[in-house]
Amino acid sequence: MTQSIAVAGAIANQLNNDNWWPPNDLNKIMGKAYHYDINTITNFLVAVRWHLAYGNPRYYFQFDTAFANAALGQSVGDLTGSVDAKTSSDPPPNWINP
């Protein structure tokens, strides 16, 4: 599975777990439409990170508070791209398993 497909799958999976998908709408804004706040978006991103870290193959996604805040204003599609850009196939130097 490529990194892009793994990231898209992890995000889709978590939106399903949180009851916002289906319908699978890439345009919905995470904060405004899907009701995430800074706490729940953090939980969401930690869950995505966990799924990527323990998938096969493993991918390594790192984020900080600024990223979580920005995610609230992003659509699902845009957030998928942002997560993909922060993900790598090799563990970063300061990586700690979730």
Binding site: M1, T2, S4, I5, V7, A8, G9, I11, A12, N17, D18, N19, W20, W21, P22, P23, N24, D25, L26, N27, K28, I29, G31, K32, H35, Y36, D37, I38, N39, T40, I41, T42, N43, F44, V46, A47, R49, W50, H51, Y54, F63, D64, T65, A68, N69, L72, G73, S75, V76, G77, D78, L79, T80, G81, S82, V83, D84, A85, I96, P98
Partner: protein, 442 residues
């Protein structure tokens, strides 16, 4: 030699045309949905890669800095090159170019992963760069139509994203909610609003003026060396609560006056724990506060502690009431509280005996419902705060319910009907009132 020159002229012309067209687009990014209605990107029930690339570059226009040197004759080819060589763009592109390329990749990842299979069905998962680079008939994405041949559009194909909003400057009706940024739209919608109201009651021959609010500023905390998913917020604030009832001669209503001002800091830490992929968040609020009562001249120093568990879709998190419909969302509210107070001045003789230092333990429970229908800008919340007295004598049992009608889509200004009953958590004073007023938060 001649043919080489011609070829170079051609590629330069093509590059120039694409660069110019792209640059013109960059002057005004269009607020377009993705994916668009099938008619815009499908040909013979298959996604047309050229149309799709054109559409994506209209939605996410790139600057001329992003255009790499080389031979390419279409936007599809340009997109394939840019998506394939991410590092090239990182070094040369502007910040928005990188952000837009990430967004293009993310949106296409979802389509190619099959998340929109009911409208756009990919034959096989493939990398987005490979998809745009491939032959016209390689890795096709089917545009799904009904038995009658009507395109089945993707959810949100006609959706226009709202503008982004965020602010460090905050006005609330409750200092415990000053850590909520307005970027957290639904959480923001459920916060208490600052109130300014004036009631002239001709029957009771009384006039009531009320001002209640807290103004704070979220201090930007530089990134700390915390584990991923953890954070710290600090919001110093000033609060005011003034409620004055004046009566005319002959009125049966008793005149009364409440006037307090307070200054404090809300420090809020958030940590997450993971158990086999299941995430539980823990928010810890610590709020030292100094409250001055200008009517009875007392001064109260408090330290309030609060623990808020957060599990998505279960507790302190919104979930749709009717999944799949933009109807309404509901959140169960729960927190544990510990309030501690020491009077540095017990005030006038009339109240000094009742002003005792205290320690209270208890919880807040309740729920909030927010309408998701833009035509019905209503939200409702109700909470019950019950704190038992460990020392000091006064128990807190405070019920507050509020129905808000918002005048603007961002819910900054609105009309609120509020009912409150019981001993207030901040002053310990009894309250039993209905109130209607203009409310605001920012």
């Amino acid at each position: 030699m001649t043919s080489r020159k011609v070829s170079r002229v051609h590629s330069t012309t093509a590059l120039g045309a694409i660069a110019l067209a792209t640059l013109v687009g960059a002057a005004g990014a269009e607020n377009l949905p993705f994916p668009p209605p099938q008619a815009q990107i499908c040909t013979s029930n298959v996604v047309d890669r050229d149309k799709l690339a054109d559409y994506l570059l209209r939605k996410y226009p790139l600057s001329v800095l992003a255009i790499p040197p080389g031979n390419f004759s279409s936007r599809r080819q340009l997109l394939a090159i840019l998506l394939k060589a991410r590092d090239t763009c990182t070094k040369k592109c502007g910040p928005s170019d990188q952000q837009y390329l990430d967004a293009i990749r993310g949106n296409m990842d979802q389509v190619l992963a099959g998340s929109l299979r009911t409208s756009f069905d990919p034959n096989d998962p493939v990398d987005v760069a490979e998809y745009f680079d491939g032959a016209t008939d390689a890795h096709p994405i089917t545009c799904v139509v009904s038995k009658e041949g009507v395109p089945i559009e993707a959810p949100g194909a006609l959706f226009v994203p709202p503008p982004k909003t965020s602010s460090n400057f905050r006005i609330r009706g409750n200092p415990n909610q000053l850590n909520v940024d307005r970027a957290s739209q639904q959480e923001f919608a459920a916060t208490d609003k600052a109130t300014l109201s004036f009631v002239d009651n001709h029957i009771a021959e009384s006039k009531t003026t009320k001002i209640l609010g807290d103004i704070g500023y979220a201090v930007p905390i530089p990134p700390l060396d915390l584990a991923v998913g953890n954070r710290l917020d600090v919001v110093p604030y000033l609060g005011i609560n003034r409620n004055e009832v004046t009566v005319s001669q002959g009125s049966t209503t008793k005149p009364s006056k409440t006037s307090t001002g307070d200054v404090g800091v809300l420090a809020s830490a958030y940590v997450t724990t993971v158990n086999d992929g299941s995430i539980l968040g823990h928010q810890f609020n610590v709020r030292p506060d100094f409250l001055a009562d200008f009517v009875n001249n007392s001064r109260l120093l408090t330290l309030n502690l609060e623990y808020i568990p957060v599990r998505n879709s279960v507790i302190n998190s919104f979930r749709p009431m009717n999944p799949g419909q933009d109807f309404a969302s509901i959140k169960v509210i729960f927190s544990l509280k510990d309030d501690n107070g020491v009077y540095t001045n017990r005030g006038n003789e009339s109240v000094a005996n009742s002003h005792r230092d205290y320690v209270r333990l208890g919880a807040q429970v309740g729920f909030a419902i927010v309408s998701d229908d833009v035509r019905v800008p209503l939200d409702f919340s109700t909470t019950y705060t019950g704190l038992g007295s460990v020392s000091g004598g006064t128990h807190i049992n405070y019920l507050q319910s509020s129905l808000n009608y918002s005048f603007d889509p961002n819910k900054y200004i609105g009309l609120a009907i509020t009912y409150s009953h019981g001993n207030r958590e901040d002053t310990g004073k009894k309250e039993n009132q209905w109130q209607i007023g203009l409310t605001g938060r920012y």
